[in-house]
């Protein structure tokens, strides 16, 4: 057994013990306690530098741990943004003080982080954001609105981008800040989505003071910082795809169809074949990309292929499940609730983390190397730019 295998074996053994006592749906306090134990056992921040609280090990150990962890339901969802995006961004771009102050509590689950990029007026065009940060004494004063923020209600800190120079072209007048989510000027409002539930939040900033030393990566250079963060997002959305629950899966739908005697109908079987083809093609592609990564081929922008196909599969599955199983899915007494919910949730997959159109642009530009669309907004000062929603005025 190699050292790495031994590492993985020990991790698995530890996880077995550590998760043994966990309830089915752990609360926030239990999640924090678990995170602390994970940290103390040396499994949080495995590849992160030791001086800030990480373990300083290689990706081999990280991968061995992930491999072992796949079989356990770990209550770490609430720390995902911090561990997956905010932490890596701070490690890349943060000051020495920031890293010393924030990384260890983040890894231990003592402080929860959220990401504050999206705005209602900006949408896919994240860089057209309108939240303002103006100099205020030694620090900055922030006003504006963010949206589509996960775990904002639990978060202690947020990584925020705001416009600091409206006279610069839109990508060049943005700065990234660490914001204290407990500041009285921060209002978190749950955003109800089309499922009827609230998975995200809107955040309002009303004269929120931020000290000067909370700038991440240089004043006016926040777009580059944001790109660093977003690259981590794309990887985490893409590569974790197979683990996403798919209620309208081929196995699930065909089982239900068979139970109701519907598979006797050739038209039903034909639709199930459609679902199988898409699902299997997606799963095999995912598996192949994982093998390529292991073989040292970086996935690069091909994560967008996964994202686009997953969005498509999610919508198709929900749609075809209803088509096959019939009216009970849309008017039910509880039995088909998961499928009905899949219909409401499915569009979210095509909208979160970049719309299908954005994914196709990325694939065209970065995978196929096609010439770019002429960009009309690249060199225009932000304040002269049309943004958000407005009437056409000549053009």
């Amino acid at each position: 057994m190699t050292d790495i295998e031994e590492y993985g074996r020990r991790a698995r053994a530890w996880l077995e013990t550590a998760t043994a006592g966990l309830p089915g749906e752990p609360g926030l306090q239990q999640a924090r306690e678990f995170m602390a134990r994970l940290y103390d056992a040396g499994y949080s921040g495995i590849t992160w530098p030791e001086e800030y609280g990480g373990q300083g090990l290689s990706v081999a150990e990280e991968r061995a741990f992930q491999q072992a962890a796949k079989d356990f339901a770990l209550p770490v969802g609430v720390f995902g943004i911090g561990l997956g995006m905010c932490g890596p961004t701070l490690l890349s771009l943060g000051t020495e003080e920031q890293k010393r102050r924030y990384i260890r509590p983040l890894l231990r689950g003592e402080e929860i982080w959220c990401q504050l990029f999206s705005e209602p007026g900006a949408g896919s065009d994240v860089a057209s954001l309108q939240t303002r940060a103006v100099p205020d004494g030694d620090g900055w004063l922030i006003n504006g609105q963010k949206v589509w923020t996960s775990v904002a209600r639990q978060a202690d800190y947020g990584l925020l981008i705001a416009r600091t120079d409206p006279d610069a072209p839109k990508h060049r007048g943005i700065t990234m800040f660490i914001v204290d989510m407990h500041h009285p000027g921060v209002t978190v409002r749950p955003l109800r989505d089309m499922t009827g539930e609230s998975h995200f939040n809107e955040i309002f900033f009303d004269d929120v003071e931020v000290p000067a030393d909370q700038v991440v990566g240089g004043v006016h250079d926040g777009w580059n910082a944001a790109v660093t963060t977003l690259l981590h997002e794309r990887v985490s959305i893409g590569m974790g795809a197979t683990r996403t629950e798919r209620p309208a899966s081929f196995a699930g739908v065909s089982r239900r169809a068979a139970e109701r005697g519907l598979t006797a109908d050739a038209a039903v079987r034909d639709r199930l074949v459609d679902l199988y083809l898409r699902e299997r093609a997606f799963d095999l592609l995912n598996a192949r990309m994982a093998q390529e990564v292991k073989a040292g081929i970086a996935p690069g922008a091909r994560g967008s292929v996964i994202k686009l196909l997953l969005a498509d599969l999610t919508l198709f599955g929900a749609d075809v499940a209803a088509e096959i199983l019939g009216p009970d899915v849309v008017a039910h007494d509880g039995a088909d609730a998961a499928l009905a919910r899949a219909l409401s949730w499915a569009p979210g997959m095509a909208l979160g983390g970049g719309t299908n159109e954005i994914m196709r642009n990325i694939i065209g530009d970065r995978v196929l190397g096609l010439p770019r669309e002429p960009q009309v907004d690249r060199d225009v000062p932000f304040r002269e730019l049309r943004v958000g929603t407005q009437k056409e005025t000549g053009k």
Partner: protein
């Protein structure tokens, strides 16, 4: 074959649209949809029946109606579909009235239709959907009693009169028999109504459970042909509703694509969006043609109705959902919010697609009526 509206139909559409704009704006639609126990606005219903005379449009004058045609009902359905108005119109004026007319039971028609036609009675009819279990009926003295479940009935809580199809227990062989239609008083003993969780909040559905519930047989003991005709007429009316919704979805996203700016340009100027909207427009143009044709056939070419109705549902179910889904997606993140109306249409579209049975049933029916099954 007439594929464009008459002047009178255009006026009817304008009047209905104006009325719904005033009485059923989206804020009101949401209010009704989100208030438990409230399924429509009785004031709006009274005015639709009285002022506008919409509830008796296709009912012959001898039964208290206006004696117009199904083309006129389609006009109203199209506007209701565009406005998403929560209303028992489809249940009462389309489903119930048409089944009563098709059954050709003079006495029942004289008893039951005038109330539906003048709006004082809200009726509903549970359309028999392939694959559903049907309740059984048993002769009992002068009348019948019903036994068993009806899986889904529209607006059953608002209804003053419930029509259901049931198998006559004495004529069942091998588990199935001819269907007959029965009128049930919602207050009759042994009737349990359970509200279902519907994806489409604007159109409530209920499960009924009969347990020795007295019911009145309407029409012949084999109502097969009458049910077929009533279901075809429902398919046409529903297709008109789908057309109205589809058009509204497209209008909304086209409007938004002219206002919303991304990357310094109106999003409608990006071919990625523009070409998709063009395809949606092509779908709409085809949909309108099919719906006009089906509505014409309903009134003027009864021999073409079976194919036209199956064509309409086979095309419109998929088409409306596709357009509603694309409209939602092209709105971007805001289309995913509860506050935005896109999801209401998306959910209506999917529910409509399944309302009269799964799409494959409409397609199989179409294949059969085209003579492909030999």
């Amino acid at each position: 074959m007439r594929l464009i509206r008459t002047d009178e139909q255009r006026e009817l559409a304008d009047a209905t649209r104006a009325f719904l704009a005033g009485t059923s704006p989206m804020a009101r639609v949401r209010e009704i949809a989100e208030t438990p126990g409230v399924c429509h606005d009785p004031d709006v219903w009274r005015r639709m029946a009285g002022e506008l005379g919409l509830t008796g449009l296709a009912v012959p004058e001898e039964y208290g109606g206006a004696g117009f045609g199904h083309g006129e009902v389609a006009v109203v359905m199209e506007e209701l579909g565009a406005a998403l108005t929560p209303t028992p119109y489809l249940a009462s004026v389309v489903l119930a009235a048409n089944v009563l007319l098709a059954l050709d039971d003079e006495a029942a028609a004289k008893d039951l239709l005038p109330g539906i036609a003048n709006g004082s009675v809200i009726a509903t009819f549970a359309p028999p959907v392939p694959g559903d279990r049907m309740p059984g009926a048993r002769a009992h003295g002068d009348g019948h009693t019903l036994e068993g479940p009806v899986p889904r009935v529209l607006h059953a809580a608002d209804a003053d009169l419930i029509l259901v199809a049931a198998t006559l227990a004495d004529e069942v062989e091998d588990g199935s028999g001819p269907l007959a239609v029965f009128a049930v008083d919602p207050a009759a003993p042994g009737l349990t109504r359970t509200e279902l969780t519907t994806l489409d909040l604007t159109r409530p559905q209920y499960r009924l459970e009969f347990d020795g519930t007295p019911a009145r047989l309407v029409g012949p003991s084999d109502a097969g042909p009458a049910l077929e005709r009533a279901m075809d007429l429902a398919a046409v009316a529903l297709a008109a509703e789908q057309l109205g919704g589809m058009r509204r979805c497209l209008d909304t996203i086209v409007e938004y694509a002219k206002l919303r700016v991304q990357f310094g340009r109106y999003v409608g100027s990006f071919q990625g969006v523009k070409h998709r909207l063009a395809d949606m427009h092509c779908t709409l143009e085809q949909a309108e043609s099919i719906v006009r044709y089906a509505a014409w056939a309903a009134d003027e070419a009864p021999e073409e109705l079976p194919v036209a109705a199956a064509l309409a549902q086979s095309f419109m179910g998929r088409a409306y959902f596709q357009v509603a889904k694309d409209s939602l997606l092209l709105h971007g993140g805001i289309g995913f919010t509860w506050e935005h109306d896109a999801h209401l249409y998306y959910k209506r579209a999917k529910s409509d697609e399944l309302l009269l049975g799964a799409p494959r049933h409409h397609r199989a029916r179409l294949a059969e009526r085209l003579g492909l099954v030999t």
